[in-house]
């Protein structure tokens, strides 16, 4: 029996059991430390030794005042705790333990035979509020507190329980276990560090309990919402789980993060960067995590199933998201009429006073329903709606000065949308389908809620705003674009209201917030231009239109938007450096949008109704929307003046935003029509009806569930041309331009293009300027039409074309039917001819076929000898080795086993510059938010 003394001489000591306890206080902030040390000194169970860890001189000084030893780091602290101590009491500087806290902890820990015991944590200032009574976790090491916000302590949890983890605020740990486990991982945020420590302890067979009789106040908030906590959770999983468990928990954890990232957008939060940051944080720390994993799992006494015992089913984070959603339901019902969504459903007859949340929920539901085929299966492959390439890295290399694989290839720069999708694809573990699904759904949500936020500037309420948002994303403009297979209009449309709102909204007072807003505007404008390049100026046009018609001091917004547009240009590098703007707006089929008459009538009603029936503000907003809508309509019908599809897409963006704004204004005018009377009230009613008609019309988009895109025509269609294990040859596909994937060339008015089966990727959608190989192929086809060839197969094999197909019956088929080396495949639904001549895209002079690998080629196993011919438009950057032009293609004399296209350096630098610029803008945008979310 030892006679332990408190360090507080005023406290009466009593004779207790023998266990010696050393308190270790982690300190970073000197403010609350003094109060913590005072509370430790007041313990009835005397602490034999107090160590303060971390912090600067001030903390050291404070420690000295309380006769506590100071150590710079935890390792030094632990090494100074001798074997005479049975327990280490780990505390955080904000902990204010009740005088009985340690005594209860020690006694009950010994009584139940636990190795780790945590206290009940309550709010220091309001002790009746519970903060933690131990955690359950989910399989992804995320904590689930199981407490309602502001839940009052009514001793409802006062029972000693085994838990997955306990709060790191106050933990009693057996010293030997503490030393054996190497202490708490200081690189992790507090909660995740506590979970990690408990998991490692449990693997050793240790019991982890919460002892509610030990009460510790906490001077602050204990919410583990920081991205560092998420990073710590990943690290905790890596350290504790078996490889088999990691195999499914890590990918799922990432997916959950993405879902949370999208799902919190309607609540005005953007955790997606935090999700990405959390995973990136782990990459450089992987070696230490693996080292500690070895230590944690060596000598373990139990398996993962012991960890699962104290885990909740599903995802704690998604559960939290759901809880938040439910809380918002409660928040939306004033005066306590309804207490939540479930009550609303049950109550049924009670009046819903603030339906904005329900409309928002409806919009979310609509977004998921309208895009369900995209996220349950994949993007319908048709026209310009094409999937990303399998390798995001290869795509990014192609974008950054590499080889453009469209058609017979070219060194021309790819469109920035390709790089944009590829960047997200990187984040989604290379899954292009997932990246596209995220973009599609997020665009729907972003656009719909973005309009709501935009209209809120002028006091237009959320219901009208959300409905207007649905018209933005599923209105006539989007339907026109997506029915023309232009998937890329969705992300552009989704970003457009945010770009405009960032400039027209009120400027935040804080400089960092202003910078964040500006960065957000640049990112949103950049996104618009990335996905619809000709729409770069659309936000500026929209803001200018507001300046022309709007209210208040608005011309400065035009200057801001112009600056934003200018600053967003680097995001489009290197593409922006090479594009001819005139060519761009003239490219594609002639612009001529023919909206349906009912839609025109509804838009006109909404526009004029809001102008004539709304109050001054609403009328101005409605007029602004109407102006954008008609200017967009005018531009979208300028095909006779040489304008093309690209300009039409930009015009549709402007029109879409205009119609959405007009609809929002009309709905608001209708809602306020009681404030007016006479013909104005009637006008408002007419406008509202027009708006309602447009909103109802959007449901047409939800039916097929393809975000307005036409049905898939390419999936599996050319699978026969790409059998597994065989190197595919190109397909030469003829048909009407509208039935071909991406852009096409023409021969006598008939469209044609080549692609590598099973289908072209988004990187191949836009054929480049005709080069020598394209011209030679065109001449060959002309010769065929002139009946000058009976060996078309051999001639096409030079281009790596192994298949000739038609999207629909054509008289041209007869030419291919009469060739000596093309075989008609009768079993297919459309005309296809198989080339009997071997048609590899890359082959060596000894006849060995080289295998496609990204944008390059590699020798097969066994190698090959001789020069390699690459059937792609000649360019001297193919190598390594001696390059020479062979007819229109490339002949490379190499001894290496791979052939690559050397990137064009300046373009690569420009692309990196764009990426850095994007990251910089992201940091500027998210930094204030990240700071704001820390506990």
């Amino acid at each position: 029996m030892l006679n332990l003394m408190s360090i507080d001489p005023t406290t009466t000591t009593e004779r207790l059991g023998p266990p010696g306890v050393a308190a270790v206080v982690s300190a970073g902030d000197p403010g609350p430390l003094r109060r913590c040390l005072e509370a430790i000194g007041s313990q009835v169970y005397g602490v034999a030794k107090v160590l303060v860890v971390g912090g600067g001189d001030e903390i050291r000084h404070i420690a000295g005042e309380f006769d506590a030893a100071w150590r710079p780091n935890l390792r030094a602290a632990v090494s100074s705790i001798g074997p005479e101590f049975m327990f280490v009491w780990a505390l955080r500087e904000r902990a204010i333990p009740d005088p009985q806290a340690l005594r209860v902890l020690v006694q009950d820990t010994q009584r139940v035979g636990a190795a780790i015991a945590g206290s009940k944590i309550v709010d220091a200032d309001r002790p009746e509020l519970l903060l933690s009574v131990g955690y359950a976790t989910d399989a992804f090491a995320a904590p689930y507190r199981g407490l309602l916000p502001e839940e009052v302590d009514q001793q409802q949890y006062d029972v000693i329980r085994d838990v997955a983890a306990i709060s790191g605020v106050s933990v009693l740990i057996r010293r030997d276990l503490y030393l054996g486990l190497g202490g708490i991982d200081r690189s992790m945020a507090p909660t995740s560090a506590a979970i990690d420590f408990c998991q490692r302890a449990r693997l050793r067979g240790a019991r982890v309990v919460v002892i509610p009789g030990s009460v510790v106040g906490y001077d602050g908030d204990e919410r583990p919402s920081d991205w560092r906590e998420r990073a710590g959770e990943v690290r905790a999983m890596i350290k504790a789980y078996s490889p088999l468990t990691l195999l499914w928990t890590l990918p799922l954890a990432f997916l959950i993060g993405l879902v949370e990232g999208v799902g919190r957008i309607p609540f005005g939060r953007f955790p997606l960067p935090g999700v990405i940051a959390a995973w990136l944080w782990n990459i450089p720390r992987l070696p230490t995590a693996l080292r500690q994993r070895r230590q944690a799992r060596r000598g373990r006494e139990v398996g993962d199933e012991e960890l699962f015992r104290y885990q909740v089913a599903g995802s704690a984070r998604l559960r939290l998201l759901w809880d938040d959603a439910m809380l918002r339901i409660r928040d939306r019902f004033s005066e306590g009429v309804l207490s939540g969504f479930a009550d609303a459903v049950e109550a049924g007859q009670q009046r819903i006073q603030r339906p904005a949340f329900f409309v928002g929920s409806l919009i979310v539901l609509f977004a998921f329903v309208a895009t369900r085929e995209v996220w349950t299966e994949h993007l319908p492959l048709v026209g310009f709606s094409l999937p990303p390439a399998e390798s995001a890295i290869d795509t990014l290399e192609s974008y950054a000065g590499g080889w453009n694989p469209a058609g017979l290839g070219s060194p021309e720069v790819l469109r920035p949308a390709v790089a944009g999708v590829a960047l997200l694809q990187l984040v989604t573990f290379g899954s292009g389908g997932l990246a596209v699904a995220i973009i599609t759904v997020a665009s729907f949500l972003g656009g719909a809620f973005g309009v709501g936020r935009l209209l809120r500037i002028w006091g237009i309420r959320s219901v009208a705003g959300h409905f207007a948002g649905s018209v933005l994303m599923a209105g006539p403009a989007v339907i026109a674009a997506t029915s023309g297979t232009h998937w890329s209009i969705l992300p552009a449309m989704g970003a457009l209201p945010w770009a405009v709102r960032s400039v027209l909204g009120s400027r935040p007072p804080a400089r960092t917030d202003r910078m964040a807003t500006f960065a957000g505007a640049v990112i949103a404008t950049g996104l618009v231009a990335v996905f619809v390049p000709a729409a770069l100026l659309v936000p500026l046009v929209a803001v200018t239109a507001w300046a022309v018609l709007g209210l208040g001091n608005r011309w400065i917004a035009v200057g801001r938007m112009a600056l934003v547009t200018l600053v967003s240009l680097p995001l489009l590098m290197p593409w922006i450096l090479y594009v001819d703007p005139l060519d761009l707006v003239r490219s594609g089929v002639p612009a001529y949008w023919e909206p349906a008459w009912p839609a025109i009538v509804a838009v006109a009603a909404a526009a004029f109704g809001s102008i004539l029936g709304g109050d001054r503000t609403i009328a101005t907003v409605g007029g602004w929307g109407a102006l954008m809508a008609v200017v967009g309509a005018v531009l979208a019908r300028t095909g006779d003046f040489g304008m093309g599809e690209e300009l039409m897409l930009a015009a549709l963006l402007l029109n879409g935003l205009g119609v959405a704004v007009a609809v929002g204004a009309a709905l608001e005018a209708m809602a306020r029509r009681r404030e007016t009377s006479g013909w104005r009230s009637l006008a408002a009613l007419a406008g509202g009806l027009g708006a309602v008609a447009l909103v109802v019309g959007t449901f047409a988009l939800a039916g097929p569930g393809r975000a307005g895109l036409p049905g898939d025509t390419l999936t599996g269609t050319f699978a026969f041309a790409a059998p597994p294990g065989a190197e595919p040859s190109r397909v030469l596909l003829f048909g009407d331009a509208s039935t071909l994937p991406g852009t096409s060339r023409e021969i006598d008015g008939l469209g044609y293009r080549v692609f590598v089966p099973p289908y072209p990727t988004s990187a191949e959608a836009f054929l480049t300027e005709e080069r020598l190989g394209d011209e030679v192929l065109h001449s060959l086809l002309e010769d065929l039409i002139d009946g000058r060839s009976r060996r078309a197969g051999a001639a096409l094999a030079e281009f790596g074309i192994g298949w000739v197909a038609f999207t629909e019956p054509s008289p041209l088929e007869a030419l291919f039917e009469s060739q000596l080396d093309l075989v008609t495949l009768r079993s297919l639904d459309f005309p296809v001819f198989r080339n009997e001549a071997a048609a590899p895209i890359a082959r060596s002079s000894d006849g060995v076929v080289w295998l496609a690998e990204g944008a390059g080629y590699s020798a097969p196993v066994g190698g090959s000898t001789g020069d390699v011919f690459v059937a792609a438009n000649a360019d001297f950057r193919w190598g390594p080795g001696k390059w020479s032009q062979s007819d229109w293609g490339n002949l490379i004399s190499t001894t290496r086993s791979e052939i690559r296209f050397s990137a064009y350096g300046p373009r690569r630098l420009a692309a990196f510059g764009a990426l850095i610029w994007f990251l910089g803008l992201g940091v500027a945008f998210f930094a204030p938010r990240l700071r704001g979310s820390r506990p």
Partner: protein
Amino acid sequence: MKRALVAALILALGVLAAALPTPEPAPEPLAGLIIDRPGIDSPVDASIWYCPWAQANAGRDSFFGVASIADADAEFTFPVAIPGEPPDEASTETLGPGASILTLSDIAQRGDSPGFVEFSDGPAAAGVTVIGEVLTADTCVSQGPDEWFFAGGSTLSGERMTLRLFNPFPETAKVTVTGFSEIGVEALGELRSVSINSRSWRDIDFEEMLRQRQALVISVRVDEGLVVPAMSYSQDDDEAWWIGSGLSSEWEFPIVRTNGLETGTVVVGNPNLTEVTVTVDLYTSEGPERSAFEFNLAPETPLRIDLGSVSGGAVGVRISATAQVAAGVVASGEAGTAVTGGAEAPARVWLLPGLRSVGLNQATLWLLNSGFEQISVTVSELTGAAAVNSQVLVEPGTQVAVPISEPDALGVLLESNDPFTAAWSVEGPSGVAYSAGLAVIDE
């Protein structure tokens, strides 16, 4: 006021949008482009010649004669009628102008070996001569009609007629074979939609199907795919092969009867549904006998004109008809049997690939000037390396025989300022053969 202005502005812009003209619609794909279903035609400077009757076995061999006015490579392909089996291939080259030969047995010796020759440049032509047990020759074909006609041949006792349908293309082809003879339209229902596998051939023997016909006209109509037909007619120990032709209202045959062939017969078939008047002009070295015969030919009826009783030696014939007819020459005698088609029109340039005298086989070039002016023909005997030129005068309305004496000759090129017709014959111990010349069409 402002509302009214804005509404007016919107309205004006809306009207402008509505008033914007529709862009010119894109022209219909392939509008104005006439894409005929291609036959077996090929361009002059990259011609493909199909030779359905080549054969090489223990008793026979074939040599392919190729001749070209320009330097050209000639690629030979001999499909093997076993699915998946690669074809036999060979190549040769000719100087321009020049000729070359390829002996089939050097490439493949498996009996029947129909094949085709692809030239890298042209004009060029190919022909096949079968030697050994029999002697037969004719030019290959590089273009043909949708419906082929074979006028000539009979199935009397000791005679045999076999139709070969060669499909060199990778698609299965279907043809319908019909025919008429002196007894009327033949019932050949079983030969409707006869399919010929890709890169294969099929022989149809008429000996049993159409017994004891004296004058047969067989037609082959292609229903699907492409087919090159050829006909074989054998009598006694000799055999003749000839390629089919289309219809024409005029036919010229520089050679119908030679010494050693007692019977020389011109067979004219009228496939029309109306009666046709046929006029026959005879040409010998002595001069013409224009309108020597005139016949009215009933619909779907053949006419066999035996020139055995015509005095003199060799005879050439010109046929003119009031409608398009099919025509051919069948000659037989102690020397053997020869059949060939005629020329639809005279031409200024002719290629006669494979025309050569080798061993005991003596070849003769036949020139026919059916016009009324004397013409001068440059005869270039093409060897592998050079051309041996000579000049031949052909009096108006006469037929001239030019023996081929140049031992290295592998073919002949004929040129004149005036149109004429050319053919050749070869006679040897194992038989006799007629071959039509190939007119080089002025581009």
